[in-house]
Symmetry: D2
Amino acid sequence: MHDVGVVGATGYLGGELLRLLADHPEVQVTQVVSRSHGGARLSDVLPFLADADDQVLLEDPGGLTGELVFLALPPGEALAVVPGLRARGIKVVDLGPDYRLQDPRIYQETYGRAHTDPEGLSEAVYGLPELNRERIRRSPLVANPGCYPTSALLALAPLARAGLLPGHVIIDAKSGSSGAGASPGPATHHSVAGASVNPYGGGHHRHLPEILQELAALGATPGVTFSPHLVPVVRGLLSSVYLPGVSPGQFDAWAPAFQGFYGKSPFVRVGPVPRLPWAVGSNRCLLALESSPPSGIVYSALDNLVKGGAGQAIQNANLMLGLPEDEGLPRGGLGP
Amino acid sequence: MHDVGVVGATGYLGGELLRLLADHPEVQVTQVVSRSHGGARLSDVLPFLADADDQVLLEDPGGLTGELVFLALPPGEALAVVPGLRARGIKVVDLGPDYRLQDPRIYQETYGRAHTDPEGLSEAVYGLPELNRERIRRSPLVANPGCYPTSALLALAPLARAGLLPGHVIIDAKSGSSGAGASPGPATHHSVAGASVNPYGGGHHRHLPEILQELAALGATPGVTFSPHLVPVVRGLLSSVYLPGVSPGQFDAWAPAFQGFYGKSPFVRVGPVPRLPWAVGSNRCLLALESSPPSGIVYSALDNLVKGGAGQAIQNANLMLGLPEDEGLPRGGLGP
Amino acid sequence: MHDVGVVGATGYLGGELLRLLADHPEVQVTQVVSRSHGGARLSDVLPFLADADDQVLLEDPGGLTGELVFLALPPGEALAVVPGLRARGIKVVDLGPDYRLQDPRIYQETYGRAHTDPEGLSEAVYGLPELNRERIRRSPLVANPGCYPTSALLALAPLARAGLLPGHVIIDAKSGSSGAGASPGPATHHSVAGASVNPYGGGHHRHLPEILQELAALGATPGVTFSPHLVPVVRGLLSSVYLPGVSPGQFDAWAPAFQGFYGKSPFVRVGPVPRLPWAVGSNRCLLALESSPPSGIVYSALDNLVKGGAGQAIQNANLMLGLPEDEGLPRGGLGP
Amino acid sequence: MHDVGVVGATGYLGGELLRLLADHPEVQVTQVVSRSHGGARLSDVLPFLADADDQVLLEDPGGLTGELVFLALPPGEALAVVPGLRARGIKVVDLGPDYRLQDPRIYQETYGRAHTDPEGLSEAVYGLPELNRERIRRSPLVANPGCYPTSALLALAPLARAGLLPGHVIIDAKSGSSGAGASPGPATHHSVAGASVNPYGGGHHRHLPEILQELAALGATPGVTFSPHLVPVVRGLLSSVYLPGVSPGQFDAWAPAFQGFYGKSPFVRVGPVPRLPWAVGSNRCLLALESSPPSGIVYSALDNLVKGGAGQAIQNANLMLGLPEDEGLPRGGLGP
């Protein structure tokens, strides 16, 4: 049994980590940290968790002692915590953005602050197991990607590696509201979001640089247009990825490329066009390939809090702790 | 054509007033006031309104000059505005709670502040046209009830007047999120409210005193248990009103009581058990009577922003201006 | 006052026609036909309609006598009704697909049946008023387009006419369930559709030929990829239209093209990125232009039952009857 | 490891059984029967299940050989299957209604058919573990209750046993659409149910007799008014149970009665007023007690497919197989 800690317990990703880890047979959460709710009982703050998992929240991550720590913090905050954890030999899965971008200048452009931990950055691995499985196994610091890049990269990576990507990629993403986090705001007010579809990208999105970074690592440098939309579901993300200028003949090479790329990945399935509930609740990403001349389309569905967040973080932790990749993770979706 | 003003344009009731009044053939909105958005264009603040109705928002209600003013303000704020309007001879429909409770002590208990306009209170009429139609016609100041009391009172009034109410009434109300207003908060965050049913009354609710007041005016003083629930729709309110201890024989007297009471009311229908969309978008309240021994049940459905808010305010204004009661008001619901 | 009839009253478009026409000041519905519910009272079949509009449904369209008839029938059925109506000098707005495609061979390919009314087809005009306003005014038979083509064509037409369309267009459409009609089926079962986003195009869609037809009439012949998605709202359609390979410099020509094209169109607004409720309930189509290099994007939002169906049919009828184009049609959307 | 079979795999309860059992450490599903889809692969019929659990569906339950079989069949069909299974010594958890009512005359009144297995009926135990835990452990045939009776009985049982129930009980239940099963129909069409609250009881409901039966077994015979409502969520059931005529003094006895009754029940929590997502996905029933003079209220929330269906069936099977009651069952809810 491996002892782990969770920092940032009261956000949606922190709560999801605690929910999933409660059923993990080889990992136990021994310390939970929340700056905003230190001293409170977990059962009072997150009443959806099982009573048996109750414990008192710590305020300060300085006293963490486990073998691995999950950080679920707002942008910038991990930079103040990771160096101390690493100095004490604790492995880290960071669910925030601070260690995802290898180039600190792009980090500064994207998040508006300087990166203060170059040492950590140099040892960090981008935590998409289907791309970087072996490097993650050996790494002490993994930067867990969020839901949009996970969804888009799993749709594009096999084509990027096979040299099948055209010069232009269009990602139309439809996300549930939990992707926007636990803080109420005008865009996620129920009366605004509950009977609507709201595009909100404005032509720019902070997750685009990491998509470009990982595609480049696979050898592809397409132009990418990314448009996120808020849809009235709580959980789930569907990306419809359009590749203009793909003939039916070119499309025939897609299926073998995907099958080869994901042959050993327990959480990726290439199959029929997915609906969100087939993925929601599970750690899976469900892909489908469709020829729609003059384009090819890849549909990509996942649960933004599981494969797009806390589940993937546990998948990474499993690799880092020498456990089976799928240990303790839900495999089937919620339903029809 | 009657000139009217709207104060508090940027809340949900204010916006709904402007939406509905734009199609009113006998009333034109000549002045719109918003303290928070004075100087802005209406089209920038409320982009769902038709472009042709655009105008610049005023910041100060002091310059209002029309024949009638609608006030859609938070609790307490109308007390500072009504005396000035009345002094200038302007009629007022107040959509807030400040003139609904005739007893200032109950107002203070319920809203935590003293009532500072006893003169206004003495001339105010409770604006439920189906109960107080003739008094509203003659009144210069009408206190428009909100969605919960409208829904409950229309279900109970015929039985109260006919002496058919038992000593105990249970109101289980299911409300859409727009009833909670335009300000984001934890309870109406989409991830909290979007896939849930949330009881939130805690045994107390500030609209109960006015329900009791109006039932007493009809001669009934039952004990009332009221439990509001938030359901994941944006518009609409369904109240299931249970009257324990009603035998099938006693129930037989209900239908005649309702038919008699609402014979001249264009917006109340007693018919089959309603679904919300039959009422949403219209100014109607749809009632159904059901015998479920040992109880009788009245179902009551309406659009909380129309018959439970802005539509009813216009219905009151029509009466106050000598127009037909249903002038300019939508009569049919949105659909199946 | 113009007398009109409605055939196919119990489908969603037929019901919406009756709901909207009830508030039209210059048109009265004197005859309503439903083969499946002939002899029933309208209030029993469509309880969301206002009581005052109640009438008995006719079973047979053979006795229709008004000045104009709206047909809301399944594919193929209008072919058996239109010739008789036209022979009696009655104008027709057909909300079904039978007179939309000018080439009968494409009709046969798309709908799997031969077109049996070439005479009608030769006088029919494609009923998108923003494209064919003057021809509609003079036409006795108008083929009203459905929600997907209306949404897509209003997004593309100004660019097509100005020669600004690239060779490839991608339409990602998100539709509410009412677009699928009133018949229950597996795809629109609430447990399947209620918490999901479901792509369902399969690379083909029967509305694509009319989009291509009308773009060609404007001088453009792009390749079009069209992917419809079902989203969990009842009303509303948002199309995100991607035009790959549009530089910021080329994008600068878009706004003038749209302003010029829609200068006299009361129901099209080019403005901020829309949310569905800004359009739902109204006859408007709300467009927004966004540069997202290397693409340009047009967002297009409307109510699939109003501007994408019954409202547009009334807009066409207004033109055919010599009335103002916007007479009796709702102009503002339902809300935030 | 215990070998079990599932009959009726393609309904919602059957699919949920397979989803949950896939993660059960002590039970393996070796045979799956579906009359409608015999010969098909599970992955084609229920694509939300994990790929690793794929198998070919059997058409005939006659060849079942495991230690225990779950039956998820429409009313009446279990009567033809149970005698054969019992004759071969196979234990049965029946998720349908055929063995719930001990009196065959009431079964005939309720379901309109004669009960043909009196022998089975005599050994069947009503499968609500919190009421009948010890009898279930010793029984070879358990009649698993559905969502409404589970929700209502868990709210009422402690008061019934303690003699604290008044003579009248009102149950206002709000159910998600999955409770209505997988067959599409008008009431669960998304356009009808997706933005509405629909009462549908009509004063009668087939689950009332078993509620009365189990309350009587606890010594209480109140009059019960039961009104089910369909709300626009897929999963989840909230019952608001009103007990008229409970003074604050009498209410004080409630909390001890509930704590005593559920002290050893791992899946029932008495705590703050619940929201559906706190229960959805888990096998829990969350109760809250509220004094609202002159009534007392019990709120009861659960997942209709888990604690109200498949999860409770597994809880029963655990008891029948000598396993810990909570083995393999999800304990925490999905979220906020």
